[in-house]
Amino acid sequence: MGFKRPECLTKESMHYCPGCGHGIIHRLIAEIIDEDYKESKIIGVAPVGCAVFIYDYFNFDFVAAAHGRATAAATGVKRSIPDALVFSYQGDGDIAAIGTSEVIHAATRGENFTAIFVNNGVYAMTGGQMAPTTIPGQVTVSSPYGRDPKKQGYHIKLCEMLVPLDGVAFVARTSIHNLKNIEFTKKAIKRAFEVQMNNEGFSIIEVLSNCPTNWGLSPCESMKRIENEVLKYYSLGIFKDKGRGI
């Protein structure tokens, strides 16, 4: 079997930088939808950030939300069309800084949709500023001397924050820095969608991704950086799967 474009991806060429993880994550979502949800109603909720044009790349309906508000918009969407598969796709600035309140409350209410949270540790679209997820010591254009927790605080661990909430059914942190982890990411998203379709409550997958452009690294080097540096601060795994007793 050849390597084919998933059916639910459009022919539009993606605007992402070469080697950017967004393309991989888009493809995983598309494959899952082709495999499991070919006939289903699907609504994506787009963020503000590098993935702001995500609605151009999929051939199903989208609602484009304001910065940080995707989980609130997704709440309105899912409550309106409860039988649709609804997911928000958000970066770390979007979901873990300006949208923190919206995601925590959607989660604790047990809103039955899936948030796909792409964590690359920077505000990528605005040129690589420090994000809430930027790890200690990391140099960005707004932490030019490296993030100093004494002055700039620590990196946020959204998944760990959400696990204790009763409305949350599924939490996983995955990565795309190698094939094994890409496969694990796909499995996690697949499971999150399944949890949603079983009406179990809120599901979220945090995907550690790269930003070769703002990290100033080649795509290969950026994947190595995830493995060697980012993983020291963010552990991977399925943190919660209520339906399976995890």
């Binding site: 289903s40 199903f60 609602v63 969407v77 309106s80 649709a84």
Partner: protein, 350 residues
């Protein structure tokens, strides 16, 4: 059927009768009874009711539900409406219908919870970012609030635009007899743009992003064209005893009711005065005011508001400098009395 209802509850009931399926709110005085009424009704009827984590959350939930073609309402008061402005701009940009209720209180800042008309400029001049307009309806009785709420849903759908009901704390809190038309059936509106998730058709996207300047300009011109159409067709205004008036009061909402009583008293005393009450604050009845300004017998205008002079800007623009526009206002939750208004009028004639 006649019912004795609080303004806030009557607005909520009217919304439900207009087919409102989703309500997203956050408690704030003096509009909270509206949210409570919606909770009581929508949680039972299978509609959607969410007490959101913030006004920001509420308006964005409304954005999501409106994207799906639902009839949607959110309500708040000044400080909360300030937080909603981001979302209102997105609703307008994405051309999504939504009914937003502002039961105004005293400002700025936390101000107080008393009746005031502090948010006229915020409501009619944008409030949020960008070139957009919100249709603003200003009821002056509980009965009118009911009628305008129903109309607000129709206007929102007709023009795919947010519509605001702008009342004050007095309107929200007072009880009056209201009558609902028992035969009324909400309009069924086709929404061929609504995001429903269905796969067997072309995909639909609700969005306000137009990254290419030419495209955003085109979009903004399209919005402008819509706003012009609204200006042509939707102006509502009450003209009271204005035919032979030498002095014309201009006032809106509950304040206009007090002014109306002052006009009646002044008439009894032989003064030729009348009242123009804009019911739509945007679109503003500029042509009506302009035509009074051009009449020889009209000597001056008196704008009365429960703020320090907000609508007066529109009154002056409409009058085009042809006549003097005087201003009388109380603020901070103080309500002008009939006597005060009469005294102010007499002081002008001295």
């Amino acid at each position: 059927m006649k019912l004795l209802m609080k303004g806030n509850e009557a607005i909520a009931e009217a919304a439900l009768r207009a087919g409102c399926e989703c309500f997203f709110g956050y408690p704030i005085t003096p509009q909270t009874e509206l949210l409570q009424y919606m909770a009581k009704k929508l949680l039972k009827s299978g509609g959607v009711f969410i007490q959101a984590e913030s006004e920001v959350g509420a308006i964005n939930m409304a954005y999501g539900a409106s994207s799906c073609g639902k009839r949607v309402m959110t309500s708040s008061s000044g400080p909360g409406i300030s937080l909603k402005q981001e979302g209102i701009s997105y609703l307008a940009g994405a051309q999504l219908p939504c009914v937003i209720v502002n039961i105004m209180r005293g400002g700025p800042g936390l101000g107080n919870i008393n009746a005031a008309q502090s948010d006229y400029l915020q409501a009619t001049k944008g409030g949020g970012h960008g070139d957009y307009k919100v249709i603003v309806l200003a009821p002056s009785s509980v009965q009118e609030a009911v009628e305008l709420t129903i109309k607000a849903f129709d206007l929102a759908d007709k023009y795919r635009n947010p519509v605001m009901i702008l009342g004050d704390g007095m309107l929200g809190q007072m009880m009056e007899v209201v009558e609902f038309d028992e035969n009324y059936q909400p309009q069924k509106v086709e929404k061929p743009w609504a995001v429903t998730g269905e796969r067997n058709r072309e995909k639909r996207v609700t969005n306000s992003l137009y990254i290419v300047p030419e495209e955003l300009e085109k979009h903004n011109f399209k919005l402008k064209e819509k706003y012009e159409k609204i200006k042509e067709s939707e102006v509502m205004v009450e003209e009271y005893l204005t035919d032979d008036a030498k002095a014309i009061f201009v006032s809106f909402g509950m304040c206009a009711r007090i002014v109306k009583s002052a006009v009646n008293k002044l008439r009894q005393a032989g003064e030729k005065v009348g009242l123009v009450r804009p019911i739509t604050l945007w679109p503003f009845p500029e042509n009506e005011l302009k035509s009074y300004a051009s009449k020889n017998e009209v000597e001056f205008f008196v704008d009365v508001e429960m703020n320090l002079g907000q609508m007066i800007e529109d009154v002056k623009l409409s009058v085009e400098g042809k006549k003097t526009v005087h201003f009388y206002g109380r603020t901070g939750g103080m309500v002008p009395t009939i006597q005060e208004i009469m005294d102010f009028y007499y002081s002008l004639k001295e």
